[in-house]
Structures are given as C-alpha cells and as structure tokens.
C-alpha cells in the first residue's frame, strides 16, 4: 500500500516538473509511437492489406496457372463473376458451405458446447476435469490429424462400422454415402471445446441468486434455462456464434484431408472450391473471384462481431 502511494506521489511530482514541456512530450510520444508501430505497419500492409487489394484486382483478370493466360493475363471485367453465377459448382459449394456451417458450427458445436458447459456445472471436480480434458483433446489435435482420426473411424473396417455390425446393422461406406455427415461430425469433434470454454466462462458469470430465485418461484429446468440463463448470457452466445462462423468459413484442411471435397462435389465448401478452381483447374483469376466472395462474407461477419462487442461496452 505504502509503496504504491509513494509511487503515486513521485510520478505526480514528475508530471508537475514536466508540465512546461507537455507539448514537447506529446511530440516525442508521437514520434516514438510511429517507430514502435512501424514493424507492425510494414508487415500488415505487405502481407495483410496488399493481398486484400490484390484480391479485388485479380478477380477481374483471367489469370491462369497454365495455358496462354498464364503468360499474359487480361482484365476481363466481370466475366469471372458472371461465370460464377452460372457455374453449378459454385451454387453447390455455397449450399454445402451453408449446410456445413449450420450443422457443424451453429447447431453442433454451440448446442453440444452449451450442453457440456451447463451439465458440467455442479458436477464433481474430478469428473469435470476428465470430461473437459477429453473434449479439449479434440480441439488440441491439429486439423490434419483430426482428418486421419476420422478417416480411420469412418473407413470400411473402421470403428463406426464395427459398432454398427455389433448391433446387427449393415456396414456403411460413410465417407462416400454420407460424406457431409462425416465431415460435420469430425468438425463438431474438433471445434466443440471452443464453445464449451466460452459457455463455461459465461455461465460462471450468471449470479447464483437469480437462478435460486427462479427455482423458488417454481420454474422448471427448461423454463429457468429459457427465461433466466439464456437471456443473461445472450452476449456470449452471439459473440460465440460469430466467432465460430468465421472459423468454420475458413476451414480448409479438415475437409481437404478427409474427403478432398468429394465424392463428386458433395463436401466442396467455398474454400475447397476456391482451391480447386485456382490450383487444380488452373483458373487463378476465377479462384481469386471466389476468394473475394469469401472475403466479403468474412467482412460482414467480422463487422457484426465488432458491432456486438461495441453494444456491450
């Protein structure tokens, strides 16, 4: 206590003595802050904002990975976007992205994450720790490994089919008959821990008294959840929703390593579609136009996120 007060005094003394040169100090701070921010600016401009500008520029070209357009690219106006909207593969990939987003992130991870977080309250410490660790393991596992793990799980002789056979059902070629279900399950496994942690933190902030009061008033568990708990953690729900939407939108590795976007175009989400067009079908310009679409969706989600944070403060 004493020490801190002492510090206070000293610093105010110093401020007093410096009062005359306040302007000088402001100037110095200005120069210094520019110096301090310079490395960040250089890196961000070169590797963050330049690519965004290039995305806009290149999406109007016919740039290609091979063929004559690889030598001399031309500006082709809105051709890539016209192509995109007449390309059935684009429509399919938008649809796939939405299905994947809704089922794996917005429903799967959120509901499971919340269920875990709320059920784990009031359980014994060691039990919480075991369940928490197991769920976290899915999150810690690098995406490529997540893909292998589920590849094995869903393969013809994999665990999923062994379980099916043990209850007398016919084995299923999961990755080929139910590819979307497979990638959705894999992503739920990988991502749920994030939502669980968010909701654990949120639920810890719900005052015990409020819940107790509702209990005394005779509210059932569901009523308490719906009318008391959820409204209180509304902020966390929407923030979490936006964050996992952004994470899922950018997801590439898991799907690429597990199904490669196939069979056919069954699990081809926008990032996979973008990659395939740019690097497998050699259409860099077209691939960049798809980048731009992804980027715009990301920007909208990102602005929503900022808006949500602003509302709170």
């Amino acid at each position: 206590m004493m020490a801190i007060e002492l510090v206070h005094e000293k610093s105010s003394q110093r401020n007093l003595s410096n009062a005359g040169s306040l302007e000088k100090k402001g100037k110095r701070e200005h120069v210094r802050s520019i110096l301090f921010l310079l490395p960040s600016w250089i890196l961000l401009l070169l590797f963050f904002f330049a690519p965004i500008l290039l995305t806009i520029l290149f999406s109007f070209t016919n740039m290609s990975l091979t063929g004559s357009a690889a030598r001399d690219m031309d500006f082709v106006g809105f051709k890539n976007f016209v192509t995109m909207f007449s390309d059935p593969s684009f429509r399919i990939s938008v649809l796939n992205t939405m299905v994947f987003l809704i089922f794996s992130a917005i429903l799967g991870q959120q509901v499971l994450g919340f269920t875990l977080a709320s059920l784990m309250r009031e359980r014994s410490r060691s039990f919480r720790r075991i369940i928490g660790t197991v769920v976290m393991a899915g999150w810690v596992t690098p995406e490529v490994v997540v893909a292998f793990v589920w590849f094995a799980f869903f393969s013809d002789q994999g665990t999923a089919n062994v379980v099916l056979e043990s209850v007398g059902l016919k084995p299923v070629a999961w990755l080929y008959q139910f590819p979307m279900v497979s990638v959705v399950i894999a992503n739920i496994w990988h991502g749920t821990a994030f939502s669980m942690l968010v909701y654990q933190a949120a639920l810890d902030d719900v005052p015990k008294e409020v819940e107790e009061a509702a209990k005394i008033d005779g509210a059932t568990g569901w009523q308490r959840l719906w009318h008391v708990t959820l409204p209180i953690i509304r902020g966390s729900i929407s923030t979490n929703m936006v964050l996992i939407t952004l994470q899922t939108l950018g997801l590439f590795t898991l799907i690429y390593a597990l199904t490669g976007g196939g069979p056919g175009t069954e699990t081809e989400t926008l990032p996979i579609f973008m990659y395939n067009q740019a690097f497998i079908n050699y259409q860099l310009g077209y691939g960049t136009a798809i980048s731009l679409v992804l980027l715009v969706i990301g920007m909208i989600a990102s602005l929503t996120y900022i808006r949500l944070l602003k509302l709170k403060t």
Partner: protein, 282 residues
Amino acid sequence: MSRKGGLRLNRSTFNRVVPYVILSLIGVMFLMPLLWVLFAAVDPQAQLSLKVPRGVTLDNFQAILTDPATQMSFVNGLFLSVGQSVLVVIVAGLAAYPLSRYQLNYKKPFMYTILFATALPITAVMVPVYQLFILLNFVDSLVMTMLFLTASSLPYAIWIMKNFMDSVPVELEEAAWVDGASVWRGLRSVIIPLMLPGVFTVSIFTFTSSWGNFFVPFILIQSPDKLPASVTIYQFFGQYGLVEYGKLAAFSILYAIPAVIMYIIGQRYMSQGFNFGGATKG
C-alpha cells in the same frame, strides 16, 4: 401426497444421475476416435478399427523418427512456428505499447481495423497471397512464409497485448524508470513479469495455430526439403495412409505432441481469453 413425494424423490435422483450419464456418453464418443490413434501407434498389427493392441511395440515411432526427411520436416516446422511466435510477440509488443500508453488521435480507428482484421479468415486470401509471392519472388522462402504468418496473427496479438498492457498500472512502470533502474532491471522486474501472461497467451496461441497450419506452407513452399511437418504428414497419409496405419498413428502422435505441450503450459492463461462477458474493451 405420498405419491407425489415419491415422484419427487425419484425425480431428484433421476435429475442427479442423468447429467452424469449424458456427460459420460459424450465423453466416450469424444474418446473413441482418439483411442484409436493411441492404440494403433503401439499395435504391431494395427487395424483401422478401435481395438486393444495385442502387444506393444515402438517400431512405428522408431520408423518415423529415424527417417531423415521427417526429421527435416520437424525442424522446418519448429523453425516456422518458433520464429513466428517470437516475431509476433516482439512486433505486437512494440505496437501495443504506444497504443496502451499514449494519447493518439488515430488510436480508435486503428484498434477497430485491428479487430476487424482479427476476424478475417486467412484462407480466403491465400490465392492472391500466392500471386503476391510470385510477383515479389518470395515463393518457396521459409523466411517470407514466416513473415506472412507473423502478419496474419498480428491483429489478434496486438489486440491481446494491448489489453494486457492496459491492465499494468502506468504508475508502477513509471516508478521503475524514475528509480533509475537499468534497462535490463526495468524489463526484468516490471515489464516482463507483468506482461508475462500476455506474452504467454500470445506465443502459445501463435505457436499452436502455426504448428497446425497446413494450408499456408502447402501453397507457399514448394521444395520437398523445406516443407514443415504439417505438410509431410499429409503427404505420408496420401502415400502410405491406407496401408501403414500404425506408422500413420505414430506420426500423428509425434506431430501432435508440440501442440499438446503448449496447451498444457498455456491452460492457466487460456481461460482469460474466453470471457466475452465483461473483459472486452475497445
């Protein structure tokens, strides 16, 4: 009355047991795929389905670890991830200082730009980034890839570092300078201890996301001897994954270890990152 009382008793036992049952079921479902990797890695006759290994062997690990190409890829991966983490901490730390301490008229728009950039998926810009690398002749350069990765994690790192720095009282810091402490002592006794949680959080998040990043090096690095582990393990899967399950599982475990270690170290710092209730300020 008695009927009602009985029901309530049943119900409360029921209410107590059900969560345990549900949680255990979820736990088992999360555990099953993971157990396969652990068992298959040490099973001399690894299969694709989950089964308790007949014996225990370390041959799979040995085969992966003694392969010089794999060793190289781990070194490359560590180079990228450690390099990126160190750079991110330094550059973000430098940027966070004036943002936290000085009155700057462009602070607010800058912070909003940073926040906005935090949320953008870098996957989306990989095609143009590749083209940028071609234009600037950066393709296949580990250093440039590392700098790109650094830039991509700067926004969130600056954001977190600034918030941590905000929580360090200015007075405490000024005292250290005024006391005439040497630079090293000032750093050691004030800045570093107080900033340590921030530094840890940022470097752990950076390292793990970098170590697990497959897409960026997959696009930007071409030479086989420069590829990091995240790409070589994928290639191994494509080449042998359907035959050598045991080796794939062993490779997976070895590859996951650095990320797991980082999470264990970082656990106590991580919880701070997940509270969106109050701790966020702009």
